[in-house]
Amino acid sequence: MGRIKAIVAKEFLHILRDPRSLTMVFITPLVMIFVLGYSVSYDLNRVDAAVIDLAQSRLSRQLVKAFAANRVFVVRTQGASNRTLSLAEAEEMLRRQEIREIIVIPADLSQRLATAGQGEIGLVIDGSDTNVANLVYQYTERILLEFNSGLLGAGGAAGPLLTLDTKIYFNPEARSQFFFIPGLVAVILLMISAMLTSLSISRERETGSIALLFISPLRSVEIIVGKTIPFILVALLDGAVILLFARFWFGIPLRGNLAVLLVFALLYIIAGLSLGILISTSAPNQKVAMLATLLSTMLPSFLLSGFIFPLDSLSPVLQAISYAIPATYFLRIIRGVVLKGAELRHFLFEGGMLIALSVLLLAAATRKFNRQRKAAQ
C-alpha cells in the first residue's frame, strides 16, 4: 500500500509540474463541446406539417392560421380530392417524409377549454432524425405558447390553456429536448479520461524510466493502479467543468439528481482511465498512444454507442461491440438523469457494467505490463 502511495504521489507531481498540459485538459473539451454543440444544432428553414382539424371551429381555424402564418411552417390541411386530411393519410405522408409532423386538433377542443380550462392538441413527430425532431417540437411548442398567451390575454389570468400531447414515431426515446449535448459530454469525458492515462506509461517508455519500474520490487498491479488513481480527481473535476458548461452555456436542464450523475460519472471516468492505461501499456510512445486513444474512444463512442445511430439500428455484430464501449452505458445514464430525472436504481445494470469493464481493462493492462516485464523483448 505504501508503494502505491509512492506512485500516486509521483503522478500527482507530474500533473502539477505541467500546468500547460493541465490547462489543455480543461480547455480542449470545452472547445470541442462548443464547436460540435453548434455544428449539429442547425436551424430548420422549413417544417412541413399536416394539420388535421377535427374541430373546424373558430378557435381551431385561428390555430391553423397561426401555424400557417409562421415563416417556417408549411401547413397542409387537405388530402386527396380536397377533403379534410385523414390521420391515415397523414401518417402515410409522414412515412414518405413529405411532412415532419402531424398536428391533430380534437373535435371537442373548444368544449374542453370551456369546461376544464385546458385542451390538448395531438402532435405526432417523425423521430427518425432526433435532432430534427427536437427542433420540430420546439418550433411547434413556441407557436402554441404564443397562441396560449393570446388566449390568456382575451380570457383573463385564469384563461384557457392549450397543451401538447406528443407522440414520436419511429424512435420513441427521442422525446427529449436536448438530446445531443449530454451525448457529447459522454464522448468527450471518455476521450479526456483515456487520454490522461494513455500518456503516462508511454511517457516512461519514451524516457526509459520504465526500466527502473520494471526492475523495482513493485508489483505490476501496484504500478497500474497507482498510475490510475491520481487522474480520477483530475478527470472528475474536468467532468464537472464540462457539465457546468453544458448546463449554463447550452442551457441543458438537469431534471435528476446531480449526486446520482456524479456517482456514475466517477464509474465512467474510471472505465475511461482504465482504457487509457491499457492503451498506454501497448503504445511504444506518446504519439502513438494519443492517436490510439482518439481512435478507440471517439469513433466507437460516436458511432456505436447509440449516440448518433440508435443501437437498434445497428447490425447484431455492432450491437455486441456496443456492450464493450463504456459510452454506451453512460449515454443512457446521462440522458436518463439529465432529461428524465432518473434515479440511481434505474441504472444498476449500467453501473455494474462500467465497474466490470474497468476491472477487465485494468486486469488486461496489468497482464500486458507484467508480460513485458517478464520477457522484455
Binding site: A9, K10, A375
Partner: protein, 296 residues
C-alpha cells in the same frame, strides 16, 4: 560474484550478444568497453532481466538464478544508459520516489538521503528539477538513487559518456570509495582510456567478448612495443615505407605529424633506426584493443 555462461541474445537477424562468458569479481571494478552496438547495454539489460536471454546461464555466487531475476535485482542497483529519472521532479523528489518503491524504511530513508546528497555534493541542488541539472550532476543523481537501496552489486551503463572531465573524476572517486566499502561494480564506457580506472577490463566487439583480464596482467602480457614515428617529408609516403618493413605493423593511426606503429617482433628494429626517427611509447588500452582486434 556474478558469472555469465555462454549467454546469447538475438534481435531479429542481429546477434547482439553472442556466446558471452563473463566474470564479475566481488569488491572490484569491472569495466566493459567497445563501440556502440557492441552489445554492452544488452549484456547489462540481460543481467537485470530487462532482456530475456536466448541461451546461457547467469550464476549468482555460484548458483544458477534461472528465471528468478529478482535474486539479482534485489541486491543490485542498475543505472541505464540514458538518463531515466523524472526530469520534472526535483532531486529530492526523485530520491524519495525511488527510496519508496525500493521499500527503504522511512526512518532510514532520511538519513541515507542526507548522506548521499553530501557524498555526491548535491546538497545545494536538492530542490532543483532533475531536468535542469548539468550532465555530470544528472549522473550523480542517478547514481544516488540506485545507492538508496544499499546494493551490493552496482551496474552502470555508460555513466560518463559525454560528461565533463571534472564530473567524471568525481564520479570515479565515488565508485572507488564504493569498491573500498566492498561493493561490486560493473560498468561500461566508450572511452578506452577510462577503462584503465578499473581492476578488470573487458573488450567487447560485435556481441562477443574479445578479451577479459585484470588490468595489471593485460599490461604485463602485452606482447608488442609501440613507437611513434616522426616522418621526414610526406606523412603518407612515410607510412607506406614503414608498412613495407617486415615486423612493423601499421596501426593506421595519426597524431598530427606523427604516425604510430605497433612492433610485433623486435628483430628488425635495428634496421629501422637509420630510416626513421622513432620514439618508444607506452601502449594505451586503445592500442591494445586494436592489437587484439586484428588478431581475432
Amino acid at each position: 560474484m556474478v558469472r555469465l555462461e555462454h549467454v546469447s541474445k538475438s534481435f531479429a537477424a542481429v546477434r547482439a550478444v553472442d556466446d558471452v562468458s563473463l566474470d564479475i569479481k566481488k569488491a572490484a571494478i569491472t569495466i566493459l568497453t567497445g563501440a556502440d552496438g557492441a552489445g554492452k547495454s544488452t549484456l547489462f539489460r540481460m543481467l537485470v532481466g530487462l532482456v530475456k536471454k536466448d541461451r546461457g546461464a547467469i550464476l549468482l555466487n555460484g548458483e544458477e538464478i534461472g528465471d528468478d531475476y529478482s535474486r539479482i535485482t534485489s541486491i543490485c542497483g542498475y543505472m541505464p544508459e540514458r538518463f531515466s529519472l523524472y526530469t520534472d521532479l526535483s532531486v529530492e523528489e526523485n530520491m524519495d520516489f525511488f527510496a519508496a518503491i525500493q521499500q527503504v524504511p522511512p526512518a532510514r530513508r532520511r538519513e541515507l538521503k542526507q548522506r548521499l546528497l553530501a557524498r555526491t555534493g548535491m546538497e545545494p541542488f536538492r530542490r532543483r528539477r532533475a531536468g535542469d541539472l548539468s550532465g555530470g550532476m544528472k549522473q550523480k543523481l542517478a547514481l544516488s538513487t540506485i545507492l538508496l537501496s544499499s546494493p551490493e552489486l552496482i551496474i552502470l551503463d555508460e555513466p560518463t559518456t559525454g560528461v565533463d572531465p571534472l564530473s567524471r573524476i568525481e564520479f570515479f572517486a565515488i565508485i572507488e570509495a564504493l569498491k573500498n566499502e566492498g561493493k561490486t561494480i560493473v560498468m561500461s564506457t566508450p572511452y578506452l582510456a577510462e577503462a584503465e580506472k578499473g581492476d578488470y577490463v573487458v573488450f567487447v566487439k560485435n556481441g562477443r567478448v574479445m578479451l577479459q583480464d585484470a588490468l595489471a596482467s593485460l599490461r604485463d602480457s602485452f606482447p608488442a612495443r609501440l613507437f611513434r614515428i616522426l616522418p621526414r617529408g610526406n606523412v603518407f609516403e612515410a607510412m607506406r615505407a614503414a608498412a613495407a618493413i617486415p615486423g612493423l605493423e601499421s596501426s593506421a593511426y595519426m597524431r598530427g605529424k606523427f604516425i604510430q606503429y605497433l612492433q610485433t617482433g623486435s628483430e628488425n628494429l635495428g634496421r629501422l633506426i637509420p630510416h626513421l626517427e622513432m620514439i618508444e611509447e607506452k601502449p594505451g588500452l586503445e592500442d591494445m584493443y586494436i592489437y587484439y582486434e586484428r588478431r581475432q
